[in-house]
């Protein structure tokens, strides 16, 4: 019975969800392009990642506004209400992820023509993981599936592990090779941005669990 009585809520929420997934795709592309600009030392591409951040910010505000209008006009309750409120948090997390991608791009520009200190190994792995986590968290949101969300949040340990590995390796290089500090720091910034992206995904996973169960506990603390 309830299905046909809430057509308008469903229609409006479907728009929000579509925009949210579109935003996810844009953020994913920013992360990919940021890595590519680092690998190829492509400063124009890095600049594009920075410029495209505007579009992602705009989408965030558009979605937040649509959520406010949906709450004010359709008066969602229970799971519906939590899903709309969660969408508002999720777009903020995604907007920040795009900022982290832009952070990598800014580092690429700062690096200029300096050769990389070492071949990129763990950083591409972190990117791959970040993308899988982002995609997985959005899938879990759409499916409203707390178990999927918990799995995604658990993968943040892999991210922290990779970050730790990069960190230690770079520290070692810095200690042994005087004059490498600046170039090591550039890579450290890149890795740090990716590690933060993992934390943002964990926040999204928390919101999904909240939607699905009403439980607001923090994960991975």
């Amino acid at each position: 019975m309830s299905q046909h009585l809430r057509g308008e809520y469903d229609r409006q929420f479907a728009h929000i969800r579509d925009d949210l997934l579109r935003m996810g795709t844009l953020v994913d592309q920013s992360i990919v392009k940021a890595l590519e600009s680092l690998q190829k030392r492509d400063r124009p591409l890095a600049q594009r990642v920075i410029d495209e951040d505007e579009a992602i910010n705009a989408l965030r505000f558009k979605i937040e506004e649509a959520c406010l209008a949906l709450i004010a006009t359709q008066q969602p309750t229970a799971t519906d209400l939590r899903a709309v409120v969660a969408a508002m948090s999720i777009v903020i997390e995604m907007e920040r992820m795009a900022d982290h991608a832009a952070g990598i791009a800014k580092t690429v520009i700062l690096m200029g023509d300096e050769p990389l200190l070492k071949p990129l190994i763990d950083i591409p792995r972190m990117v791959k993981l970040a993308r899988e986590m982002l995609q997985g968290s959005l899938d879990a949101y759409v499916a409203c599936n707390a178990d999927e969300a918990r799995e995604i949040a658990n993968r943040d340990d892999e991210m922290d592990f990779l970050y730790q590995a990069v960190f230690e390796e770079l520290l070692e290089i810095m200690a042994s090779k005087p004059g490498s500090v600046q170039r090591a720091t550039f890579l450290m910034w890149c890795a740090h941005n990716l590690e933060r992206i993992g934390d943002r995904v964990t926040n999204i996973a928390e919101r999904v669990i909240f939607v699905s169960t009403g439980d607001m506990r923090e994960l991975n603390v």
Partner: protein, 257 residues
Amino acid sequence: MVNDNHTQKMMVRDLTFYYGPIQALSWISMEILECQVTALIGPSGCGKTTFLRCLNRMNDTIPDTRLEGEVLLDGEDIYSPGVDLVDLRQRVGMVFQRPNPFPQSVFDNVAFGPRVLGLTHGRSELEAVVEQSLRRATLWDEVKDHLSSDALELSLGEQQRLCIARVLAVEPEVILMDEPTSALDPIATLEIEELMRQLREQYTIVVVTHNMQQAARVSDKTGLFWLGELVEFDDTATIFTRPKEERTEAYITGRVG
């Protein structure tokens, strides 16, 4: 609430209305867009019903009333001399607060308008119109096996949808609804609201409601009436998230009215 480019269906300009010496509406201007739901809210006695009835000249029959201003339907003033009232009310239909089916069969209720206006030729054409109208009013499945039962045996919610089917049967362009759910229980209310949403694909709807949550849920545009004035008129999402007028803010947050 996608705002594609809707064309103007009705336009009200500087409408003022008097019951004898009492001014019930002051200088109301409002554009009503095609295939949208326009909701009118405001405290009781502020002129919503009066305004609605001006849109198809239902106030003409009340003695000692006076109207100034213009009400355009597809650009033509419905108050200009020579306008055929039967034709006007076929194009601009009205659904009332309390369901008011005739004490006749379900079929005859819906067939009433087409019969009186001579819109159909022959029984099978009439049956087709009745079925289509009941389907559009989302009532067909419930009544298709009892078309000859007395309409008054239906539940109130079904009776109201029957009244909507009766209006639809004469192929209106605009449907006016005056508090169409105030006599209904919450589920029947939501059914009518969802019906309005479906109808707006094809018809232009103006609905008066004392329930502002309902206005928020069903409408594309909302107008707030206050003591015979139109205080604010805007997209429903705007009215309910960031109204411009203090009186609107006060009314929709429940701090007055």
